[in-house]
Amino acid sequence: MANTRQIKDRGMNVFFFCIATASITILFMISVFLFMEGLPIFKVVSVKDFIFGSYWYPTSDPPDFGIFPLIIGSVVVTILSAAVSIPLGVMSAVYLAEIARVKIREIVKPIVELLAALPSVVIGFFGMVIVAPFLQNVLDIPTGLNIFNASLMLAFMSVPTICSISEDAIYSVPTNLKEASLALGATHLETIVRVVLPASISGISTAIILGMSRAIGETMVVLMVAGGAAMVPASIFDPARPMPASIAAEMAEAPFRGDHYYALFATGIVLFVFVFIFNIIAEHIAHKYRQVGEASL
């Protein structure tokens, strides 16, 4: 006869299995739903015209469902924000882990982590009320709600994540590796650039993935400060309409199961594929540089 402890143990296994299955199933169902609601648009427009069409006029008659300007909006905003957030985040992490005194690190690190908790709507609000008028006045441009502003705001959303996780990676580089470098007559800077950063590249790429995932799918900030114009931008001071902003702004007005509704879900599919590919590439990079053996992190 199985005793009560064994029964409890088996019960526990079943319990955790059910929880795990439920979570994964629900996420899977959401993806299925996304495709079910998005694919019907391709009866109206071809995949090619949908992705490469330059006109997004979903409510005109006849409507145009070309999301190319939306895709470009997303891509440009993401790349530009990465160009700001990666150097800022990683260099701040180097300062905290390698250069700052212990006391400063102990105070600053938790503050940086707290900043990651800033709600995106607050950052969007700041971009709208402070940064936009500033850009408009200083650069003498028609609107301060543009790609540059949105990228900047997204960058400051990602910096805390990138900084905090990179800092963990850099800090955990074994002391004896740093000592080996210094003992050979390398300066502190040479040691950071040639030993510490390469040894922590796997953790730093993870940090960048997480920080940029937050930026690429971010809706509220781009909705508030990107300007919302569905056209292919000519400069970084033009307004843009990234995919998440378009979906969020239009979903409430799109007739249920009309073509516009399907088109927005299809935009969601494109966004999903983008993030998916992005994660795969990032995972690949992190894996490629993962170290093996004694010096691994």
Binding site: R101, V102, P174, N176, L177, E179, A180, S181, L182, A183, L184, G185, A186, T187, E190, R194, V195, P198, A199, Q291, V292, G293, E294, A295, S296
Partner: protein, 253 residues
């Protein structure tokens, strides 16, 4: 036969915060001799070794008093460039710590940071250093493989080769064999015999037989103090102090 003094410490004290880890150490290291530092764990011998290439500079809240001379010059003088000192005083640590780079790059690293740019010069230095560290034969066909794929003993010889490549004058070794098996240990000890022709070697070891085998002079540390120093033969056969005798015969420690 007296040789010129390579390094001298005069009344050296070292503190971690309020704790005095080294108390008034005065020692002389002659050129081309191997000096072994022995003593129980926590006696300060590693701390002392790390003073000699200013590695303790990295430790927050630590401070040193006294003088440490390299060729008669105080290496702690404000005008001294710590980077230059570290390229003159090489170090091999207890646990092999190759960089996560190729075998070749591990050795080329020290040359590159010290300003050697000529590729053929780097290549010949790498080869020479590996030959000196008795590793060339084992790795010559896979110089561009990761150094992390080597065995522990090979990694440690790689670390020695890496230290030799920058042509230091003094070589500090902090228990270089404690993570190695007896065969690898024997290879390293043979290497030390070869190397003392060119270098001044200071080695910290827990292994009394090793100290007896490789060193010319042995210094016994206990509780942050230098207890006794003498020619290795003399110290191991006729120690002056009871404390030293107890330690080397294994009665305490």
């Amino acid at each position: 036969m007296e040789r010129p003094l390579k390094m001298v410490s005069n009344h050296l004290h070292f503190y971690y915060g309020d704790f005095e880890a080294l108390h008034d150490i005065s020692l002389e290291f002659s050129e081309n001799k191997v000096t072994a530092l022995i003593g129980p764990s926590g006696c300060g011998k590693s701390t002392y070794l790390r003073c000699m290439n200013r590695m303790n500079d990295l430790i927050a809240y630590s401070r040193m008093e006294g003088e440490l001379l390299l060729d008669g010059e105080d290496i702690y003088a404000p005008s001294v460039d710590v980077v230059t000192i570290r390229s003159r005083v090489g170090m091999v640590l207890q646990k092999p710590n190759p960089f996560p780079k190729s075998i070749f790059e591990n050795i080329a690293y020290g040359l590159k940071v010290n300003g050697v740019k000529d590729k053929s010069k780097i290549a010949s230095k790498v080869e020479k250093s590996l030959i000196r560290a008795a590793l060339w034969g084992e790795v010559k066909d896979r110089l561009h493989d990761s150094a992390l794929g080597l065995s522990g003993g090979q990694q440690q010889r790689l670390c020695i080769a890496r230290a030799l490549a920058v042509e230091p004058e003094v070589l500090l070794m902090d228990e270089p064999c404690s993570a190695l098996d007896p065969i690898a240990t024997q290879k390293i000890e043979e290497l030390i015999h070869q190397l003392k022709i060119t270098y001044t070697i200071i080695i910290v070891t827990h292994n009394m037989q090793q100290a007896a085998r490789v060193s010319d002079i042995t210094a016994f540390f206990y509780m942050g103090k230098l207890i006794e120093v003498n020619y290795t033969n003399t110290l191991f056969t006729r120690p002056k102090l009871k404390q030293t005798e107890d330690y080397i015969t294994g009665r305490f420690g």
